[in-house]
Every structure is written in C-alpha cells, then in structure tokens.
C-alpha cells in the first residue's frame, strides 16, 4: 500500500535535505520550474481533484484558480499549520517528520499563483516542528530552492515561519491572516475571499499542511496515480488518526475511503479491554458523532457527509461506554466557548450558554427546559447564522449527541446526577 506522504518518514527522525532529496525530493519542483507554466500547475491540481485536508474539503486547484493572476503587486501563500482542532494530530507528523515535503509543496503552490512571499503559520505548541521547519527553510535557502531566482528559473520566493501565541481561531484562514498581520485573530467576512484580498489586502492562498505536502507527489506522479491511490471518488491517501480508549491510538496514512471499522479495529487495535464503542467524532471536535450503525462508512468527504457528519481532519475521537456523553460534549463546548473570538453574538454568547447548561446537567441541576435550549442552540448556531464556521462546528457534536445519546441527557435530568459518576472540573 502506497503512503506517499509518510513513507519517507522514520520515527524519531526529521528528514533533512539530503535525506529528502535522496528520496526523490525537490524533483517535482525542478519539473515545475523547468517545464510547466503556473497555469498548467493549477490545471493539474484542479484535475487531480485534490480536496483540502484542513477540514472543509474544498478543491485546491479551484481555490487557486480564483487568484487574479494579472494583478500587480505582491501575492502570498500561507501554509496553515495551526492544527488546534481537539483530537487532531495529523499535521504534526508531517511537520516534524518531513518538513521539506511541505516546503517543496509550498514553493510549487506559490509558483502556481505567482506568490513572492510565503509563511508557515505554526501553532505555538509544536516546538519540535518549529525547530525542524526553521532548519529546513534555511537548508532550502542554502540549496537555492528558496530566495531569488530559484534554480535559475527567474522565480523568487521568500519563506518565513510564524509561530502563534494560542487561539484556535488562528486556524480559520481569514483569522489566521489577521493574526499574521499582527492583529486580533477575528475572522473576516467573505466576500472578498482571501484569493482576492487576503494578507495585507493582497491575493493570498491558505492551504493546510497535508494539502500542500501532497502537491509535489501529484506533480511527479500525475493525476491518474493520485486517483488510483484512493478507494473512492475523493483522490489520494489521507492521514487518519484515532484517539480515545482504543488499544493502539495513532495515525496512519491510508487510502482515502477506508472504513471506520477498519480504522478502529485493524489500525487502532480495537477498544481497550472492558470498554465498548459508543460513537466517535470522525474528524476532530467539530464533527458530528457517528455510531456503531455507521462503522462501515468509508472515510471520505462524500460518504461521511452522507452519514450525517463530516470527514473534517480525518482524526477520530472515540467515545466509550464508561465516558459520559454529556461530559464529553461539555468538554467540547467548553473548548469552543473559550476559543470563540468574541466577534459575533451567537457564538460569543451562545456557546458559553450551552457550556453552562451541560455543566448544570453534569452537576445534576439540569432541567427539561435546558435540553430545549440546547436543541434551540443547535438549530440557531447553524452555518451562515454566525460569522464563521467555529460555532456551527461546535454544534455538530452537540446536535448529534442529543440525537444519539438523548437518553443519557434525559437521565441526567431525571436522576439529577451524572450516571457516570462525579467529575471534577
């Protein structure tokens, strides 16, 4: 089974430029600079149907094609390495293990949109990744892959590493741009899209680390190869992960479309002894629960959506039968309420409200009216009603928990206690 993104990565080692080149690295860049026009690169990526790995699954080539290529002045490319979605730890693997793959992907992508400046926006906690990327960037400069006149092609690209100072919102692409500009990480209204008016008001592309890391491979090996990797219509492999009470939590690069069951049982080694599977968030904290009934769902954008959730980041968090689903979503809503930027009303005020209700339920003080409030919030904090996707994301686990684990919620109300035992907060 091919694992183009991760096969070169060895545990505990970060691939340096020599190692990366030995594994075929920077060949794609040479090819692009020598043989392809920017438009051809975009067309290729579009044709491959690579869908963004940051969570939303938007076509990468399509996104690039919105950049006004004839506009004068600087353009920017940003790698979104903010990975702060609870339950998600996939980009870390790529960042720590093979930073050059990301850098090469960024250079090619920047070439495609003719960006002259690029940034890696890295979350603060990834200290090791920061070290490796910093090292890799200077290696790439030294080798002539970055800087002026790259490989004699006339194409220039600067690359900088920016490490964040907290806040999940920084992962949202427009908030990320504000943060890069030295502002509060509040999102921006779209339109205008960043492709037109992004960083410092200039055309900008933001892509996820995993998305960008794929670019060199698609360039080298082509569209058919990329699509052949997958079991489904959404091409390529995907880094999947599982955490929670399983025997072997971890992350694996697998063909797009492996089923939840395979992930859980084959790769994660099944549930820990004495624990039963009750459900899982298939792709990070802001995706809807799926349950036993969905275990045979292929984990790709389309099928997970059809099952009523989202592929999201592809990293699954498992809920077991000893863990209180109400406490579980309380933990999530606490996170989302904390991480709301405070700009729009429903998110800023609605999320703390749901958090307080869930806490009250856990404390045995919840009422039936509280459950109605929760239902109401899941309806009213939907997409489009709030300024960005944070609050709708926050409602996904809540609404599905209310659907699949309703009896647990009601039990909290009737018994005036948490049936799973007391939690301390």
């Amino acid at each position: 089974m091919e694992a183009p993104l991760t096969s070169a990565i060895q545990p505990g080692v970060s691939l340096d430029i020599k190692g990366y080149e030995a594994a075929g690295g920077y060949q794609a860049l040479r090819k692009v600079l020598q043989q392809m026009t920017p438009q051809e690169v975009t067309a290729l990526v579009k044709e491959s149907n690579l869908r963004g790995r940051g969570g939303a699954g938007f076509s990468t080539g399509m996104k690039w094609s919105f950049v006004p290529m004839d506009m004068e002045g600087p353009k920017y490319l940003v790698a979104n390495a903010d990975e702060m979605e609870p339950g998600t730890f996939k980009d870390r693997w790529l960042l720590e293990g093979n930073p050059h793959q990301l850098i090469e992907g960024m250079i090619i992508s920047a070439y495609a949109i003719q960006a002259g400046i690029s940034f890696v926006f890295l979350r603060w906690a990834y200290k090791e990744a920061a070290r490796e990327i910093r090292r890799a960037i200077s290696e790439a400069y030294a080798a002539g892959y970055l800087g002026r006149n790259i490989l004699g092609s006339g194409f220039d690209l600067e690359m900088h590493l920016h490490t964040g100072v907290g806040r999940y919102m920084c992962g949202e692409e427009t908030a990320l741009l504000n943060s890069l500009e030295g502002r509060r990480a509040v999102p921006r209204a779209k339109p205008p899209f960043p492709q037109i008016s992004g960083l410092f008001g200039r055309p900008t592309i933001v892509n996820n680390v995993e998305t960008l890391s794929y670019i060199p491979h698609i360039v080298s090996k082509g569209v058919a190869w990329f699509q052949g990797l997958s079991r489904t219509g959404d091409g390529g492999t995907k880094i999947y992960g599982v955490s929670g009470r399983v025997n072997k939590p971890g992350a694996w690069e697998l063909p797009m479309g492996v089923t939840m069951r395979e992930l859980l049982e084959e790769y994660a080694g099944g549930m820990q002894h004495g624990y039963r599977f009750r459900g899982a968030l298939p792709g990070g904290a802001s995706t809807d629960f799926l349950t036993d009934a969905h275990l045979d769902t292929p984990m790709d954008f389309t099928a997970v959506a059809a099952a009523g959730s989202r592929l999201g980041t592809g990293t699954m968090v498992v809920l077991d039968d000893h863990t209180c689903p109400v406490g579980f979503v309380h933990n999530l809503e606490h996170f989302f309420a904390q991480e709301s930027c405070g700009f729009c009303t429903p998110c800023r005020e609605g999320l703390p409200w749901t958090e307080k209700i869930l806490y009250a339920l856990e404390q045995g003080q919840g009422t039936a009216a509280d459950l109605e409030q929760l239902d109401l919030h899941t309806r009213l904090l939907g997409p489009g009603n709030t300024f960005c996707a944070l609050a709708p994301g926050a409602m996904e686990p809540l609404q599905s928990a209310l659907k699949y684990f309703r009896e647990d919620f009601e039990q909290h109300v009737h018994e005036k206690r948490c049936p799973y035992g007391n939690h301390t907060y």
């Binding site: 339109p191 429903p346 009216a369 409030q373 009213l380």
Partner: protein
C-alpha cells in the same frame, strides 16, 4: 435601480447599497446593532437577519444578515419569516445573558437602542438562568461614564473612535465573552470627538457624564432644535432642559452639515447657561442694589440713548436678529463690529473671497467627499473640529475607491475596504506653524511662519499655471513641497483647500483663494473651505459695521456718550490696556449679555440677555449657511432675548426704523427685505403661525411626566405653561405628534424608536437628507464671472526681529472659546496659560521650560510661563488664544522681550 421583493411586496430601490439600509430607507422596521449609517457594515451582531429565497419557488430559504447583503435586482427576502424572527429574538436573548437588566438606574433608559430592539424582536422572557460575568469600569475623564456590564459587544464604539475619528487611546481587549471596550489603562479619553460614544453606543456603557449631575430621562426633557455656539461651523444640536436648567446637548442630524456627530466642545460646552455667573436681573450702577424692574431700566435708558450720541457694538456670538436690531436702533453709521480688527480683516477677506471668487465653499459633508486636501495655516482640530473629522473621511477617499475596485467590494463593507486599503491615505498636506494632531494623516506636513505658508501657497498656485508672480527664495524643501502639493491637487477629482482665521494671516487666505481659483480655472470642481471663529462671525460680517478701533475713537473723541454692547466681552477683543481706556471713557456702558464678565464689571447698565437656549435667532456659519435656532425654555428672572430688549428700547426711544416690530418673524422679514444678502432667511423655518392639523409642534415628548407636580413646592396649582409667540413650537407636550418640518425637529423620536437611531425615520434614505431637505440656507454662492482675479502679492519672507517675538495665537478646543469653558468638565480639559518658544529662542532670552517670560506689547508688560517646542519657528512664539488669564487678545502681534 433594482426591483426587490420583501414579504411578497415589490419595491424599486437603489442597487449596490446594503439590504438593511434599504429596508430602513423603505420605512421598514428591522433591528440592528453593529451597523451604523456612518460606519458601514461588519456583520458582527447578527441582529439584522432576514430570510432570503433563491427564487419564487424556493420556500425554505436561508438566513442572511441584511447589513452584509448587497441589493441586487430580484432579491427575494422575508423579514416576517418565522425562523428569521425567532433568530432575531434569540440574538437579543444572547445579548441579554450578560446584560445587567438595570434599565431603571441606567442613564440610557428611555433612549436606548437596546431597549428598542428588544421590544422590536419581541424578546420578553429570559431563559438564561446562570450567573452573569461582570467587569470593572474605567475612569475616562470628565465627559463620559463607563459601565461595561451593559456592553453588548457591537464594536460600534471602537469603530467610531478608532476607525472613523482616528482616536488612539481606546480599543477592544481580551477575547470570547470577556471582550472589553475601553482604554489600556484608566484615563481621560483624548479624542476631540469622544462624546459621540454616548450616542454611538446602543446601550448605557458610554453615557454623558455632564448629564449625570442633573440627570433627566429623554421623555422628561423639553427640547428645541438649535445650533452649536462653539465655533464657526454651525453644527446642528438638540438642547434639552428641565427645571429651568439646560441639561444636555445631542446631535441634531443634518445631512449636509454635521451628519451624525458633534465635537466635544459642542456637546459639553453648554453649561455656561446654568452658570452661577449668569446675569439674571437688570442692574444699573449707582442705583440701589434692590432689583430694578424692566420699566425702570427702560426709562433710565430712554434718556441715555440719544440718537446720534449712542453707538452699538455687535457680536459674532449673537444672533443675526440681535445684531440687526442693535444696528437699526443706533443706526448703521453708529454700529461697530464687536471683533478685533485683525479678526474683522480675516473674516471680511474670507467673505470677499467666497462671494467674488469662482470657487464653491463646501458643506462639511461635501468636504468629506474631497479626494485631496490642502490645509494652510489651520490647526483644524482646535479651530473647526468637525471639519477635521471631514478631512479624516476625505483622506480615505482615494485609497478606498481603489480598494473597492481591486477587491470588488462596496463602500459600506467597512472591514473589507479597510483591509484592502490598509493604512493608506489619500493626499493631504498640512502647513502650520507647529505640528498638529492631524499631521499623522498627512502626506506632507510642514511647519513654518504664517507668511511663509502663504508664500508656499503662492508658489503652488503658480505651479498650477496661474498668472501670479513667482515666489523667490523658497528653500529647496519648500519648492519640492509646493510641487508635490500642486501635483496632488491636479491629480485629484475633487480637491479641497482649507484655510481660515487660525493662521491670523491674510496672506494665507489669499494663497488659499488663489489655489482654489487656479484649480477651478483648470477645470476642477475645487472646493475652498474657510474657517470663521465664532458661531455668527460670518453673519456679522455680512451685516456690516465699522471697525472696533473707530468705536474707540468715537468715544475717546467725545462723539458718543452711550455705548451699547451686545453679547460681548470687549476684553477678549482688545488688549486689556486698550479696553480699559475705551470703557473708562464711555459715559454710559450698556451691556446685554449672559455672564458676568470683565466688560460687565465696567458696565453702567446690565441687561440680562438670553443664551441660545433662551432665545430664537439665526446664525450664519463659515459656509454662509444661515440656520435658525430655537429657544428651549423660558429663563428665570428678567432674562430675555437681546433683540427683545433692544426692540423694547427702540419702542421706548421712539425709533422709526424698528417701529411695529415685536416678534422674531418681524425681524427676519425686515432683515430679508432691507439687506439683499440675507434674502430668504425669513423662510428658514416656517413662521410662527405655522400649524399642522391646526396644531403647534410640541417641544416635549408626549410622555413628559410630572408637569402638574414639578412646581408644587412653589404653588400647588399648576401654572399656565409659557406660550411661544415667536415660533410654531409650543413649550408643552401638546401639539402635533407627527413628523415636523426638518428645520423644526425638537427631538428624534418615532414609535418603537426611542433612541437617536430613530433618525432613520426622518431621512429620505439612511445617511441622506432629512425628509423635506436638510435645514439651513446657503447665502453665499461663488461669483459667476469671477470679476475678482488672483491676489498678486505674496507676503515677504518672515524674518525674526531681534529682541522681539511674533506672537501668534494657538487655539485650543477646550479653552479658546469664551463660553464653553464655563462647563466645569471643559475647564478641566483646558491647558494652563503659556508662551511657546523654540529652544533656541528660549536660550537667547535665557529662559527654560516653566520659567516666567516677561514680554511687552505696546509698552504694556505681560508675564507668561514658558513651554518649549522644537517645532516652533525661530522668532515666533505661540500663546493660547482666548484663554482666560492672559490678557493678550489681539494676535498676531509683535512683542518686545
């Protein structure tokens, strides 16, 4: 135009505006918070949600925020849609989770946008039963209270304070539901426009601190439409009274003049009306100190005011009516302008330029639409503050246009436009004797003597190909600057040149006029704004009169015995020694004024003249716009309008020119008839006999309470309310309840809209003119054939005179105006008197910071505290203009050291 469908009805509307303002302009009720007509949309509060449908078939639809939605043809929406309505109700529910529900003790109560919107959405039951978060409040200075717990996080305050008004010392802090709006640390808010926060904030976070010590609810005040007395711009205000004291000034929207805002001098400078120094009774020197009634006074004056032996001194802060009646009373030959001769020269030159030159002078809103600005010799934030706010908007024009084009966004998409334009400013050049706060937005700022500023101006004019002589000996820097300015102005579509009284230099005005003219001659729709110092400086100048100096001669030479001084403190017009000599020579000095001032001390007769709050009248602003202000309440004691005193005196002395005149309309009609320059001012507002449905327009809201009880401590039977014989306004709550003519709106209120946001119900479209046109009439339009050519003589290069300093006035928004400093809060913001020198001069005269420097003007000594400023020019010193305790009134002047 586009056709849109709202709840099944079709409307023809303008394309490209946002849906929220379109709905409001159509008269529909739709709640909102974060949007503000002057600030545009950011989509933060989510209060303005409506349902949008793809087409006629779509029944499901989706929620959209109307403020973020551009109006396009065939847009199909529903406001009444159940889901949209439920969402809007819940938005209030969310906002109220942390709001303290303290309306009963909140100053905003009764004029609160949050209350209005809460009622509008139907949110009436609280589901939230958890604890609320609380905040600490900050001390923000004497103008504003801060009560953060009431905040609904609409971000309007920071967007106004920072983005619109350029303030630096306020922001939003922290994140999630802890966001905090205030200062980095406690302290006085520095912006000259901070008071607008009280109106911009939709709830009671920022409220008027001066109102607090005589607090009255909106519904309990008696209001009148009025005009600010603070400077020459004539911003429209609403003045509110209760229990015989003036309690609050708020913005009276005027789409052409001040829009939605006021400066802090205008908003807070009102408390002189309530001052303990008010002259309330008639006083005659030598008569016993028992109160003297009106008749005694008139009898006394009858003898003293002999025709031909009586002169009148007018006032730039008195109404046109009072000045006119005085002029007619003493006869135009004996009427003198109550301003210093320098000021007269400047204002009369400005008038001449505007009347005879071909360049149009803009209203403030037109000025805000300029796309390149040149400011010559003016520290606008201190001489004409609201015009500075216009300049702030004007410098955004060019980059915003460009941004809108490249990012494909519309002007009201505020955050997007700001992002796309970054910190770019359009061309703006500021030339002044010292740095001004506005320099930060200038493309180029340059500091030099007023004469040199004029010379650069002349050079610009020549570069614009006007037939003016070349200006020799400019430094290279000055030449480059002139070229840069000329290029920027020529490249602009609507260039604006600003100058005025602040420079104290006629050469600067001439240079400005020349540049305006040169731009005009090369086919640009150029604008020329000239500031005037006081609220009726322009009106007085248009009325005409002799120079103040000649009044002194008339008295000293024994040609006149009696001097009637109208609303004026001559010690502010003349240096103290001169004023002393003049006033001592007057046999009889009659003063009609509000406050016991230095002139009052010398007066033999004091007549209590009503302030703007106690009078009706007309003022002419720097633009030549005549505007009517109305009496708010009937004052205590013998106080009445100065013109009424003077009409009484005219009757007592059998004056022919003023025969048969008794009421305001009589005077305005006479002015319009006798002085063609004022044609039309009798129609500024409907006349006194105007009625709607047979009714007058009430000054009091219909919920006015306590009328029968408020004077019960004096008399249990309710006194008859005063009648207003001069105007179509009544002093009571009874009268016509609908919309008054735009020039007579005493307060903005509409069913369901108790807050100032009700203004949208009075406008043709949001942010546009009031329904029957913005009030006021422009009396000055550019000369059509431009008989008056270019000014040819640039002043000489300024050369410091050994042993001397050229004293120039430095203006202060808080301090330079005579009346506003009687508000304790304004006085608190006033700087201490000083003389500002450059370090070199200080060294030469062997003084350092805070030392006392002795200077002499015309042989009279003055002592001032030294302040150093390296940007000051050598040979020039600045003294604060108009500030109490200095005694130097006629500047610029050469002082000997």
């Amino acid at each position: 135009m586009a056709t849109i469908h709202i709840d099944g009805k079709s409307y023809e509307v303008k394309e490209g505006r946002n849906l929220l303002e379109t709905c409001l302009s159509l008269g529909l009720d739709l709640p909102y918070f974060c949007w503000h007509p002057a600030l545009g949309s950011v989509g933060a509060c989510r209060q303005c949600a409506v349902k949008s449908f793809k087409d006629g078939q779509d029944t499901k639809g989706k929620l959209i925020m109307s403020c973020m939605e551009p109006v396009k043809d065939q847009l199909r929406i529903s406001i009444s849609d159940k889901e949209a309505a439920a969402f809007r109700e819940q938005v209030i529910g969310w906002l109220m989770t942390n709001h303290p529900h303290d309306c009963a003790v909140c100053d905003e109560g009764g004029s609160c946008h949050l209350q209005d919107m809460t009622v509008m959405t139907g949110h009436s039951y609280r589901n939230y039963h958890f604890t609320k978060r609380t905040y600490k409040n900050q001390y923000l200075g004497p103008f504003l209270n801060h009560e953060m717990n009431r905040c609904i996080q609409c971000y309007r305050c920071v967007r106004f304070y920072k983005d619109f008004a350029g303030g630096k010392d306020m922001d939003v802090f922290a994140a999630h539901n802890h966001v905090y709006f205030g200062r980095h640390q406690d302290g006085v808010l520095e912006s000259e426009f901070s008071g607008n926060l009280a109106e911009v904030c939709p709830t009671g976070v920022f409220t008027d601190k001066t109102l607090q010590h005589h607090y009255t609810r909106k519904w309990d005040m008696t209001y009148a439409p009025s005009v600010c007395q603070g400077c020459g711009l004539g911003c429209n205000i609403i003045a509110g009274e209760r229990y015989g004291s003036l309690r609050q000034i708020t913005t009276r929207y005027n789409g052409a003049v001040n829009g939605y805002f006021l400066c802090d001098r205008g908003r807070y400078g009102y408390e002189f009306v309530n001052s303990p120094r008010r002259i309330k009774e008639v006083a005659i020197r030598g008569l016993t100190d028992t109160a003297i009634d009106t008749n005694t006074a008139l009898q006394y004056l009858q003898d003293k005011c002999k025709p031909g032996r009586t002169i009148g001194i007018g006032s730039p802060r008195a109404s046109l009516e009072s000045n006119f009646v005085l002029q007619q009373l003493v006869g135009p030959d004996h009427f003198y302008l109550g301003v210093s001769d320098t000021e007269h020269d400047l204002v009369s030159l400005a008038l001449k330029i505007l009347r005879q030159g071909p360049v149009r002078t803009p209203s403030m809103q037109e000025a805000a639409a300029a796309d390149a600005v040149l400011i010559l010799g003016e520290d606008l934030l201190n001489t004409a503050p609201m015009l500075a706010l216009s300049v702030r908007q004007a410098v955004r024009r060019q980059p915003a246009q460009e941004a809108m084009h490249t990012a494909h966004v519309l002007s009201w998409q505020d955050a997007a436009v700001r992002e796309a334009m970054q910190d770019k400013h359009g061309p703006c050049f500021i030339l002044h004797v010292q740095p001004t706060k506005l320099d930060e937005i200038a493309t180029g700022a340059y500091h030099t003597a007023p004469d040199n500023i004029a010379r650069i101006g002349f050079a610009v004019c020549r570069l614009l190909k006007a037939p003016v002589p070349e200006v020799k000996d400019l430094t290279e820097q000055e030449q480059q600057l002139a070229q840069q300015i000329a290029d920027a102005l020529m490249a602009a579509e609507r260039p604006l040149v600003i100058a005025g009284y602040g420079s104290g230099c006629e050469g600067v005005l001439r240079a400005a006029a020349n540049i305006g003219r040169a731009l005009h001659d090369s086919g640009k729709p150029a604008m020329l704004a000239l500031t005037t110092p006081e609220c009726n400086s322009m009106g007085l100048e248009m009325l005409g009169g002799h120079r103040l100096e000649s009044a002194i001669d008339a008295v000293v030479n024994g040609e006149a015995d009696t001097v009637i001084v109208l609303e004026n403190d001559l010690y502010r017009r003349l240096d103290k020694p001169v004023a002393d000599r003049f006033l001592k020579h007057c046999r009889e000095l009659v003063l009609l004024d509000h406050l016991y001032n230095a002139t009052a001390e010398m007066a033999t007769v004091l007549l209590p003249g009503g302030t703007f709050a106690e009078s009706d009248g007309t003022l002419v602003n720097n633009e030549g716009r005549a505007q009517r202000f109305f009496q708010v309440f009937t004052p205590p004691g013998a106080i009445q309008e100065s013109w009424r005193w003077l009409l009484m005196l005219a009757a007592a002395t059998g004056n022919e020119r003023l025969k048969h005149m008794a009421y305001l309309d009589d005077i305005t009609r006479a002015i319009a008839q006798r002085l063609p320059a004022f044609a039309g001012i009798e129609r500024l507002t409907p006349p006194a006999d105007f009625r709607i449905a047979g009714q007058k327009i009430p000054r009091e809201p219909h919920r006015y309470s306590g009328r029968t009880a408020m004077l019960a401590d004096v008399n249990v039977s309710e006194p008859k309310p005063p009648e207003d014989e001069d105007t179509a306004l009544s002093f009571t709550m009874e009268g016509y309840r609908g919309e008054p003519p735009s020039s007579m709106i005493p307060f903005f209120w509409w069913p369901g809209w108790n807050s100032v946001q009700s203004i949208n119900k009075f406008q043709v479209e949001t942010g546009g003119p009031l329904h029957d046109g913005d009030p006021g009439k422009r009396l000055i339009e550019p000369g059509s054939n431009g008989q008056h050519g270019y000014f040819m003589d640039a002043p000489e290069h300024f050369v410091p005179l050994a042993g001397h300093l050229l004293l120039i006035p430095l203006y202060h928004i808080f301090g330079s105006d005579e009346l506003s400093v009687h508000t304790p809060a304004v006085a608190e913001r006033m700087p201490a008197p000083y003389i500002m020198l450059c370090p070199e001069d200080a060294q030469r005269y062997q003084v350092a910071e805070n030392h006392q420097l002795q200077i002499a003007i015309d042989g009279h000594p003055y002592t001032l505290t030294v302040k150093l400023n390296p940007a000051m020019q050598k040979g020039i010193a600045g003294v604060p203009a108009g500030m109490p305790g200095i005694g130097i009134s006629e500047t610029p002047v050469i002082a000997k050291i």
